[in-house]
């Protein structure tokens, strides 16, 4: 998977695996260096994603089983008596 296609979550998962591998110390230096480089790239990718993170659209499942954009109505509060 190319880094550009990676989600934030999968990048983090990969990072955790790499850290575990590196800390185990059982890998050859060359492989360790490769993993280290990969880790640094992944960290950069995650940081970029966090910095660029804007509000993701919230969705609601309608009665027709469609996902449509959802905004909480700020004014009304009639869903729950004491909500």
């Amino acid at each position: 998977m190319k880094n550009s296609e990676k989600t934030f979550e999968s990048a983090l998962e990969e990072l955790e695996v790499i850290v575990k591998d590196l800390e185990s110390g059982n890998i050859a230096l060359e492989e360790a260096m490769n993993k280290y480089t990969t880790a640094m790239n992944l960290i950069k990718l995650c940081q970029d994603k966090l910095d660029k993170a804007t509000k993701k659209v919230n969705k609601i499942l309608t009665e027709n089983n469609e996902l449509v954009d959802f905004e909480v109505s700020e004014s009304e509060d009639n869903g729950e008596s004491a909500g």
Binding site: F8, L12, L61, E80, A82
Partner: protein, 446 residues
């Protein structure tokens, strides 16, 4: 009675109404009683009578208030009501206008709660072993709650504030009233069909009846059967529901659920920093370790004194050279001696003698060959003489000389009388000739 002022009925009823309405004690009353004569009007208003052992009072609950009821009122039901007492001038009756009505006997609800809790606990629905881990960085969170109200607003704003990379899908559900529990349970099931990695199920605070859907078995089972990990978020900190026990994680409030569900960006950045440091430390210690090993190798005695290595080899080479020389000389000596022996050999120096020896051998061989041949021929002659004697003895014609004869038919010798028929022509061979005969008669002997 001339001057007496007469009032209309409406006037007196209205006067009484004002008296009631202005009375501070009647503006808000709390009554406890049993429902009877319950009627739901097509307009949505509820008409009923509240009674206890000795008294009764008419009651009305308008549609707007009735819509908040979490239960369906029935005759015979014990209820607690809150409302005001006023007069219906047209009928001249006073009645209570109910704002809120709850089922009495919350003790019963408590018993129901405890019974279900015990049952589900026995069944293992609360088991720690069944709790699914909550993902650390969820990608898409499903939310089962009402689409309006504080709960969804709190959840969404908290997620947005802390971890805006996360998406949400709301699965709107009724969270209050009799339809709430099937609605919540169904939406939990529906949510499981979507690509979400975490589910928040809950609602904002309310009375115990308001929250009751989350104490229903159907909701508990839906949470238990969820593939996706569930955080429960029902009411306030103090409210504990069955859903909380079954859920993989219990949040005190909807806001709390969102906080448990997602990290803050700052936390994640710190995590990333930690990962970076870990990677750096790991790689550095790897390099240090290798450097150390390299240094150790460099300090190795032989590596530090390479001539030692050479000296040993050189010594070995000299030794080999020496022993090689010694062996070669020895071999040479032996060969020389052997050669000398041959050089002094008598026969090799006198070839004529060898020829004489061979000639004498040949003569001996020729003589013995002649003898062998002679012996062989004599022996064969003896054998032939012996065979002739034997053949003479065995000749069948010699037997004829002694008086025996042979009977033949068609040149075959007859041995059995059965081979002969009367009038057959037979030949009888005798010693000095033969007879041709015809069989006159066959006589069998026993």
């Amino acid at each position: 009675m001339m001057n007496t002022k007469y009032l209309s009925i409406a006037q007196i009823n209205n006067y009484i109404k004002v008296m009631f309405d202005e009375n501070i004690h009647l503006k808000k009353v709390y009554l406890k009683g049993e429902i009877s004569n319950f009627k739901r009007h097509t307009t949505g208003h509820l008409y009923l009578t509240l009674k206890d052992d000795n008294s009764r009072i008419s009651a009305i609950m308008f549609r707007s208030s009735a819509s908040t009821l979490t239960f369906t009122p029935q005759d015979g039901m014990n209820v607690l009501v809150e409302g005001r007492i006023s007069v219906y001038p047209m009928g001249g009756t006073y009645q209570i206008y109910i704002d809120k009505m709850e089922q009495d006997g919350l003790g019963n609800l408590y018993i129901k709660f405890e019974e279900l809790k015990r049952k589900l606990q026995m069944e293992g629905l609360f088991a720690q072993s069944h709790k699914r881990p909550i993902p650390k960085y969820p990608k898409r969170i499903g939310i089962v709650t009402a689409p309006t109200g504080a709960a969804i607003r709190d959840i969404l704003s908290t997620i947005k504030r802390r971890f805006p990379v996360c998406e949400t899908i709301l699965f709107p559900a009724l969270v209050q009233g009799v339809s709430a529990s099937p609605s919540v349970a169904k939406q939990i099931e529906v949510a499981n069909k979507y690509d979400i990695d975490l589910l928040i199920v809950g609602r904002g605070g309310g009375s115990i009846e308001d929250l009751w859907a989350f104490n229903e078995e159907i909701v508990a089972r839906a949470i238990y059967n969820s593939r996706v990990p569930v955080i429960s978020a029902v009411g306030h900190e103090v409210d504990f529901t069955i859903a909380d026990y079954v859920a993989d994680l219990r949040a005190p409030t909807p806001t709390g659920a969102a906080e448990m569900a997602v990290p803050t960006i700052l936390e994640v950045k710190n995590d990333l920093k930690t990962i970076e440091i870990k990677c750096l430390n790991a790689i550095n210690s790897k390099i240090e370790n290798l450097k150390h090993k390299l240094k150790q190798q460099k300090e190795n005695y032989i590596l530090k004194n390479p001539t030692v290595l050479y000296d040993i080899k050189a010594q070995k080479l000299i030794n080999i050279e020496d022993s090689l020389n010694k062996n070669i000389m020895k071999k040479l000596e032996t060969s020389k001696l052997a050669l000398e022996k041959y050089q002094t050999n008598y026969l090799l120096n006198n070839p004529q003698k060898i020829l004489e020896l061979k000639k004498s051998d040949l003569e001996k061989l020729t003589e013995s060959l002649y003898n062998a041949q002679k012996y062989y021929l004599e022996k064969k002659e003896n054998n032939i003489e012996m065979i002739i004697q034997t053949l003479k003895l065995l000749n069948p014609l010699n037997i004829l000389d002694k008086g025996y004869s042979l009977v033949k038919k068609d040149d075959k010798i007859i041995k059995d009388i059965a081979d002969v028929k009367e009038n057959d022509n037979l030949n009888i061979i005798l010693s000095k000739g033969k007879l041709n005969v015809i069989v006159k008669e066959k006589i069998y002997e026993k």
